[in-house]
Symmetry: C2
Subunit: 335 residues, 2 copies
């Protein structure tokens, strides 16, 4: 018995060729987001930092890459029955927008207490929203039931070869623009972004280190690597709501285990500090999950020394403005 039970067999893991194919699919559809630099940031970090600005991606997060890739590869016969996704976060909006772009019906299962703005945004992309009570109901079960009843295809947020391949295109672009990086650092929740990034680094910059950064309160990936198997945790208490995942996936875990240089963590205070640096020095609004990589660089948790060149993925910028204001105003004197 596996530690993360699944009904279906695990599909073949994605390869570099899949990332390249995803890049072709995304060409002209996803934004080729800018790589941002700042002398002041380099001073603060201690090395040269190259920020891949995925908070400026469509729907405000890299998630659009994976969702659009997965939906594009749906067989024509399965498109009519539509897709279903469960998420209160960026994956929901990514699936909704990708579905609209491709003319595929989408149903998004969202908690009853999801922010009205997120529900409205998802509906604005033309998706049907099904609410559930997050304290009484299981969203995965609701999603599966909808899929069974309607024939719709479930689009998982990270443990899917096309999703992983799509997420890998962000670091592919980064390495095409800045080929000589010593390290690439990405946020880490379920592992889709990190696994895809590892495929791109292996192909384009095989000497570069790759670091994943998860919330201090939810260090399941670090523990999974140490244990040699997927460790499942309780929902971690962290402001990095996009990385409140309970476990790596059966596809993402082996890729990460086999290829990653290391997994480190960032505390909520470090995330707030990094958000402040982004706002004051770079004038950018990045969500807490989005600065996981940068926070680790600024804290010295990953190597960043004079002469070094480190690429960091800023994964998303979707944070309620009142929440952003509360977070960045609470900590004095960091930036």
């Amino acid at each position: 018995m596996s530690t993360t039970p699944r009904a279906a067999p695990v599909p073949e893991p994605p390869t570099w060729a899949d990332v390249q194919a995803a890049a072709d699919l995304l060409d002209g559809v996803a934004h080729r987001t800018p790589v941002v630099t700042s002398r002041r940031l380099d001073e603060l970090a201690g090395c040269q930092v190259f920020l891949k600005a995925e908070h400026l991606q469509r729907v405000g997060a890299f998630k659009f890459r994976g969702a659009y890739t997965a939906l594009s590869r749906l067989a024509g016969t399965r498109r009519e029955a539509g897709v279903v996704a469960y998420s209160s976060g960026n994956h929901a909006q990514a699936v909704a927008l990708a579905a609209r772009e491709l003319g595929i019906p989408a149903t998004i299962v969202m908690p009853h207490d999801a922010p009205a703005a997120k529900v409205a945004a998802t509906q604005g992309y033309g998706a049907a929203v099904v609410r559930y009570d997050r304290y009484r109901e299981d969203r995965e079960e609701i999603g599966r039931r909808i899929a069974q009843e309607s024939g719709a295809t479930v689009v998982p947020p990270y443990d899917h070869p096309d999703v992983i391949a799509g997420q890998g295109t962000a670091v592919k672009e980064l390495l095409e623009e800045v080929p000589d990086l010593d390290a690439v650092v990405t946020p880490l929740g379920g592992g889709g972004l990190l696994a895809g990034s590892l495929l791109s680094v292996a192909a384009l910059a095989p000497e570069a280190e790759v670091w994943g950064v998860e919330p201090e309160a939810g260090d399941d990936a670090r523990r999974s690597i140490a244990a040699g198997q997927i460790v499942r945790i309780e929902t971690p208490r962290t402001i990095a709501d996009g990385a409140q995942t309970l476990a790596l996936g059966e596809l993402t875990f082996p890729i990460i285990r086999d290829r990653v240089t290391g997994v480190v963590t960032a505390s909520d205070d470090q995330l707030v500090g990094a958000m402040r640096v982004m706002a004051t020095t770079l004038k950018q609004v990045v969500e807490p999950t989005g600065v996981l990589g940068l926070a680790a660089v600024l804290a010295g948790a990953v190597p960043c020394t004079p002469g070094g060149r480190v690429g960091v993925v800023l994964s998303g910028g979707n944070v309620d403005l009142e929440r952003f204001a509360t977070l960045v105003a609470r900590q004095e004197g960091f930036a």
Copy 2:
């Protein structure tokens, strides 16, 4: 007697050739800032909007363009004696950084209650900071005295031909990247940015309209154009601290009077609304003065109708983060 007394004669007004020369000086020194677009912003505005992102300029504002241009053109014999500027805002940091780049000593006269971060930033660029009591002393007099005693050259924030020419390079870049604009909209305080922009539009897009946007509480430019002469006002109460100017300059006024399509105003509430749109939709931190142009577009104060293409200068992003948080959190439901 003029309404704005001056000891020195008014110099020759700048021309398009001066803007071109300034662009050459700034090449490789100032950032060629990106032009940013957003479908969601277009929906909110009602036309296609092209944002010239000068909040991403060095020192976080377009002011670096004018300051560097003016300092570059200082005769060699005057460089050793240094420069002096009085400002609590972006001009101070712009002069300080430009002086450091050019190896010119700089003295900045700042109020005793200027934010510590701004004083530190100015000193960080290597400038000497002279503090004054804003309730008892006259900063212009202090600046002139320092200039007289040391032989330093005063670098005014807007009423100087090289400063105007330098500011004009921002819209020059915008029009080179997006040549077919129907209108250009800029923030308006002392008029340096608007006057320089008018020179660039006249040369590169002579059919395009040009609108200046000043704070509702400080509509001296609108009144000056109506009166046919420079109208001087008391310090306006507005959150747009970069546009709390008392009057247009003797150089900027005639350029604006002769060439501008119109001057409109934006209220503080409209500025906060535009800041919220920038933060939520575009993930950008822009200071209140920086969104004057965008606020007017979103409020319909300047023409922006389906099919229209409007360029808007975002002039700066230097806002204390606690202040930003307080401002954007106070208005619900706009964006």
